[in-house]
């Protein structure tokens, strides 16, 4: 029975519960036990029971792993940071609320890079996470805990957030599916902010159908988030078997330089599959995407420097013991509470916004951002979707890049451009390279999630990736 439950995807489990073949309580207990026994450090908190579960909804009580930065009422929500140690918010994030209203049950809070700043989960204030494919390696980040939990079968599915690749890259490195929706498709209310103009939440799942199912219940305009928008159409479960007539753009800027041979090999195999399924390949250029990393590492620290100003020890979270001077209270609370990478980005962002430097850095980065969005717009005049590898490398070793922030930043080279342009993209497992998963990324114009999910589904079937669960 246990092995049977473990083999079910989220959608399959929901269907079993609804059909009366599986008890929601038993399902929850099964995953609770696995999550509580987690030795990957994927979970920071595990629920005692299926509190307030609504197993009559379409998600039928299926447990959901939630990235730590989502506020859940009364549940520790620290965004992976010591500065929020023990903080339990008085309200629940809209995305989580919508999913629980649809029947999902919060299983636990998952580890992440502190305030979502990182690509390896090594910047967590609560320790790094092991990749279930190879415990010496990182699971990617920043949604590393969610990705590892799903890949290792500690949770049937999870949600995370993506600012520069934080859903797609860990999905790629752990052999699962990760969808970053169009900016505004899902409410950001209750998501502890990193960079407000890019942050977007989405599902991390075992397959494309699960991603579509969770996504369906997350979308929609939220009166509490001015930047959210009504999703223009229904989200059906994907069903495409072929890719006839779909034109896939291959941008040389995101498929060549820096992509390691093993990843390239899987990518080339995938493009052949696309053609076999009736899809067309066409080279399209995204000339400004090479400036994506530079623009991203100006804009996101700038926004973060303001978003993180509220962690001052005055109203919540730990407060440093000081002699009572206000400035000392601020400085010592932040000195003790923030990790090195967060401090680095606050410094970069504060500098970039300073009087006299604003135009040279923030202003210029915003102009680059517009150019990048223009590139995508031009490309989608010619092609339906873009296809690239998700990450230039497979999962790297723990500690391998922690001393070199720039090398770490380059992990995002293939994923930062999409959130800068606000467009959706998915990562699906394309195969293995030296026994480690390689992700394939499909990106499309704003609100083209249904097309992306459909194509990803057809491709997923053709690829036939077998890898879940492993390592545990």
């Amino acid at each position: 029975m246990s092995a049977d439950i473990l083999s079910l995807t989220g959608a399959q489990a929901a269907e079993r519960v609804r059909a009366g073949d599986l008890d929601a309580g038993e399902l929850f207990a099964f995953y609770r036990e696995r999550a509580a026994a987690d030795d990957l450090n994927a979970f920071l908190w595990v629920a005692d029971g299926p509190d307030g579960a609504n197993s009559s909804g379409p998600l039928a009580g299926v447990p959901l792993a939630v990235k730590d930065l989502f506020c859940v009422e009364g549940v520790p929500s620290a965004a992976g940071s010591r500065i929020l140690d023990g903080y339990r918010p008085p309200y629940t994030a809209t995305a989580v609320r919508k999913l629980t209203e649809a029947g999902a049950t919060v299983l636990g809070k998952t580890n992440q890079d502190e305030f979502a700043m990182g690509s390896s989960n090594e910047n967590s204030g609560y320790g790094s996470v092991q990749n279930p494919w190879d415990r010496e390696r990182v699971p990617g980040g920043s949604s590393g805990g969610s990705a590892a939990a799903v890949a290792a079968g500690l949770a049937p599915w999870a949600i995370g957030t993506d600012t520069g690749g934080s859903i797609r890259q860990p999905a790629a490195l752990t052999g699962i599916v990760g969808l970053k929706p169009t900016y505004g498709a899902v409410s950001r209310y209750g998501m502890i902010a990193f960079a407000s103009s890019l942050d977007q939440c989405g599902p991390l799942t075992r397959d494309v159908t699960d991603a579509a199912l969770l996504f369906r219940h997350m979308v929609g305009r939220d009166p509490c988030d001015s930047t959210s928008l009504e999703f223009p159409e229904e989200v059906p479960l994907p069903s495409a078997e072929r890719l006839d007539g779909v034109v896939f753009g291959v941008p040389p800027e995101l498929t060549g330089e820096g992509v390691e041979p093993g990843v390239r090999e899987v990518f080339e195999r995938t493009t052949k599959l696309i053609e076999e399924l009736g899809g067309k390949l066409e080279e399209v250029s995204l000339p400004h995407s090479r400036y994506g990393i530079a623009a991203y590492y100006v804009i996101t620290p700038a926004e973060a420097s303001a978003n993180l100003a509220r962690y001052d020890g005055v109203r919540f979270g730990p407060r440093a013991e000081t002699d009572g001077d206000l400035t000392a209270l601020y400085e010592q609370t932040r000195e003790q509470g923030f990790g090195d990478e967060v401090k680095r980005r606050i410094l970069i962002g504060t500098y970039a916004l300073s009087s006299g430097y604003y135009d040279a850095y923030y202003g210029r980065a915003q102009r680059v951002r517009t150019k990048i969005a223009d590139d995508f717009r031009a490309a989608f005049q010619k092609v339906d979707l873009l296809v690239t590898p998700t990450s230039p490398t497979v999962a790297f070793r723990l500690g391998e890049k922690t001393e070199d922030p720039l090398a770490m930043y380059l992990n995002d080279a293939l994923t930062v451009s999409m959130p800068l342009a606000g467009i959706p993209a998915i990562s699906i497992p394309g195969g293995l390279s030296d026994g480690l998963p390689v992700g394939i990324q499909l990106a499309g114009p704003a609100f083209s999630e249904n097309r992306i999910l459909d194509s990803a589904y057809a491709l997923e079937r053709a690829i036939g990736f077998e890898g879940v669960p492993v390592g545990v």
Binding site: Y91, A306, L326
Partner: protein, 473 residues
Amino acid sequence: MEFEPVIGIEIHVQLDTRTKMFCGCELSFGDEPNTHTCPVCLGLPGSLPVVNAEAVHFGLMIGMALGCEIAPRSIFHRKNYFYPDLPKGYQISQYDIPLARSGKLGEVRIHRVHLEEDAAKLVHAGASGRIHGAEASVVDFNRGGTPLVEIVSEPDLRSASETAEFGRLLQATLRRMGVSDVNMEEGSLRMDANVSLRPAGEATFGTKTELKNMNSFRFLERGIDAELERQEAILRDGGEVVQETLHFDPQSGAITSLRSKEQAHDYRYFPEPDLVPVAPTEEMLERARDALPELPAARAERLERDLGLTAETAKLLAFRTELGDFFEEAVAADGSDPRALANWVTGELVAQLGDDQPTASKVEHRALARLVTMMNEGKVSGSAAKQVLGVLVAEGGDPEAVVESEGLGAAGADELAGIVDRALAENPDVVEKLKADPGSKAVGAIVGAVMKETKGRADGGEVQRLVREKLGV
């Protein structure tokens, strides 16, 4: 060398909306601390602001009332600084593209009108009353997030009294629109003045200082005068005025510098990514336009032009909306002598009401109008009418009935004749003076005696006429 003052003002107005600028918490004043808060106005992690549509509506009304151009897309910025009354570590405010700009009120040009949120309230325990050296400080977030409109004038004002007068016009205009309590003592209207001097006739500006948070127009005027004096003394000594923020203490008249650190702030403004631009639709603009009442400046002009009131009286009525409304309703009831009516409203009625509104008393507008007409018809004397008004204010009712029941009707000629005779007989010295000089002011003694006897029911003119008739002068 003569110096010319150059003054501009910045006004912060708390809008009288139902809820806060970026969340659904109700506005309050004087409630239990921290009872009107939510994740948004407490700046809790993950919360997001949403612009209050009513605040935008009021902002548009203000922009229009001040003759401004409304921006087709104005945007919010984050103004970053650390302070315990600022829960997010930044204030959401408008920066390079405000809601409205380039307007005019009276003769003063308006630079800009923008929307922002108020900070929370800090209370410091300890002798200093300030955060530095306080034993403890507590924060009340009830006020945090209250919608504010900031109005900045161009430096078009040339004296302290002109500035106070403009401040009063602006206050009256905002009050008339019903967008704010505009109460300076409670802080719903806060005024700063930028003050500088330049040699008369020069076009370039001198170095300005900023007088912060003046909480009455009287103090504003005194503060500006004191600052102009201080600057002039510096300039006459060949010194240079330092650009700084100053505090005027109305008790001592002293001007002190606030921390010059504030000037050194780099607020690192950048566009607020959590909000979309404010792009007023045609419908929103129309709604704001339709909501605009007749404004005090226009009302004063109309009262002066159409009813022949003096400029001073017209302004008094226009600047106190409720008084103006009371007056106009009285004119509508009986418009036979609007000037006399206006004088009674702005003179005797205000004297009896003090700062209360006419609606706080029982006097009806038609009753006062009737009283003034009765006076004109000689049915009641001026001083008796004041007593009648006193009764009307306290108890309400009809002036004729009050005159009847209180026996305040004008004394008739027959009754007066005997009283005048007695007064003349009792004041032979006055009679002598009047015979020698018929225009002598000594007649006042007789009038006074008659008034005393009749308890004010006599008409002074009639008494004088009778005196002259009886003395044959």
